[in-house]
């Protein structure tokens, strides 16, 4: 009997631990919310990003890789990304129906049916194709909601200049990552830098991205047709690698 009541108390403790109020500084919360509202209101926009991230191999050695990309967002259901890495050049298209990734060097592409909204499509890309587009937090329809989902602490660090622009530096903590964001001051509160440290992984690898060229989307670059993929000449259609895929009977080919 005793052990059972102990069990019950434990359960209750676990529940109460989960509903602890996060310690988020009011000003930090307000600035993040302003950025989120601004990005939501932009509806269609483009920006450039230059990022670097570290990968840790099994000997806990860190390697730094860089990428640059150009992102076009048209809410509620269109996205186009050009991403470049040392020797890779890829394009991603989401037109509200299909999700396509084109490897330009290999001239190969993979297509999948996609959910009808950008939010759902981003979730789906993560779940089904192991894609975790860096900085994707910021292109959801309500970035604030996603960013704060796991946050346990948050504060305003102070003012800093990023690429010549005055910004507010905010720092947040959550269970798995610590992240910082620099938000432009003034009437256009866009993110200028975003940094994430995966603190539970040995060697605590870091991801950092700088955002530039935030533009309200207008003109032919944002025509619906620009978000629809059409296969380049001589390109080859290939499957996405799915979670758990392995060369088993299912992809063994019979002559």
């Amino acid at each position: 009997m005793l052990s059972v009541s102990y069990g019950k108390t434990e359960t209750l403790n676990l529940f109460s631990a989960k509903i602890q109020t996060p310690k988020i500084d009011k000003q930090a919360d307000k600035i993040l919310k302003q950025m989120s509202d601004h990005l939501t209101a932009m509806q269609q926009f483009s920006y450039k990003s230059q990022g670097s991230y570290e990968v840790v191999d099994k000997d806990k050695k860190k390697e730094q890789l860089t990428y640059s990309s150009e992102v076009f967002v048209k809410r509620p259901n269109k996205l186009r990304v050009n991403a470049k890495n040392n020797n890779r050049d890829a394009a991603v298209y989401y037109d509200g129906k299909q999700f396509t990734v084109l490897g330009k060097n290999a001239n190969m592409y993979a297509v999948a049916e996609a959910p009808p909204t950008l939010d759902a499509a981003l979730d789906s890309a993560r779940d089904r194709f192991q894609m975790d587009p860096p900085g994707a937090d910021l292109i959801y329809s309500n970035p604030y909601k996603g960013l704060m989902e796991e946050a346990t602490q948050g504060q305003l660090v102070g003012e800093e200049v990023i690429n010549g622009k005055a910004s507010n530096h905010l720092a947040f903590k959550s269970k798995e990552v610590d992240w910082d964001i620099w938000i432009q001051k003034g009437s256009s509160p866009v993110p200028l830098r975003y940094k994430i440290i995966s603190k539970n992984i040995p060697a605590r690898p870091e991801f950092i991205v700088n955002f530039t060229d935030w533009k309200q989307g207008t003109g032919p670059d944002f025509a619906d047709q620009q978000f629809v993929f059409s296969p380049p000449a001589n390109s080859k259609k290939i499957p996405f690698m799915r979670l758990g895929d392995a060369p088993t009977a299912s992809n063994t080919k019979k002559k």
Binding site: M108, D127, S198, I201
Partner: protein
């Protein structure tokens, strides 16, 4: 009255079991993840799926691919799955119905994240 007590005990036991099951799953993933390449995360959000513990990069990750499918789904589904995957094919491969024949070794191109990789496959003659 006694019956209510019994019911309450069962209910409490059930919830404890759920908690324990989840922790065991996480533990299993922790062990598995140590074998896998680990990447920094590019998003602060977690994915919708509760068990997702690691994420591959949008940009993939060259050179550290251990032939290990560190997919986050249920641990049991992926443990032990190994495959030879390469980022580029040797020269002299021939197209074979969507596959590549490289001196008798066959590869299928697949899109991993936003990168094309070639997975070795068995072909029955």
């Amino acid at each position: 009255m006694k019956r209510y007590k019994k019911f309450a005990i069962l209910l409490a036991a059930f919830f404890l079991m759920l908690l324990a099951a989840e922790e065991i799953l996480l533990l299993a993933q922790g062990i598995r993840n140590q074998r896998a390449r680990m990447d920094v995360r590019g998003t602060s959000r977690r994915t919708a799926r509760r068990v997702n513990r690691r994420h591959d990069y949008w940009n993939g990750s060259r050179g550290t691919y251990g032939g290990y499918y560190a997919a986050p789904v249920a641990a049991a589904a992926v443990v032990g799955a190994t495959a030879a995957a390469v980022y580029s094919l040797p020269s002299g491969c021939t197209d074979y119905n969507g596959y590549y024949n490289c001196g008798g070794t066959y590869y299928q191109p697949q899109m991993q994240g936003n990168e094309v990789v070639y997975i070795q496959v068995e072909i029955d003659d």
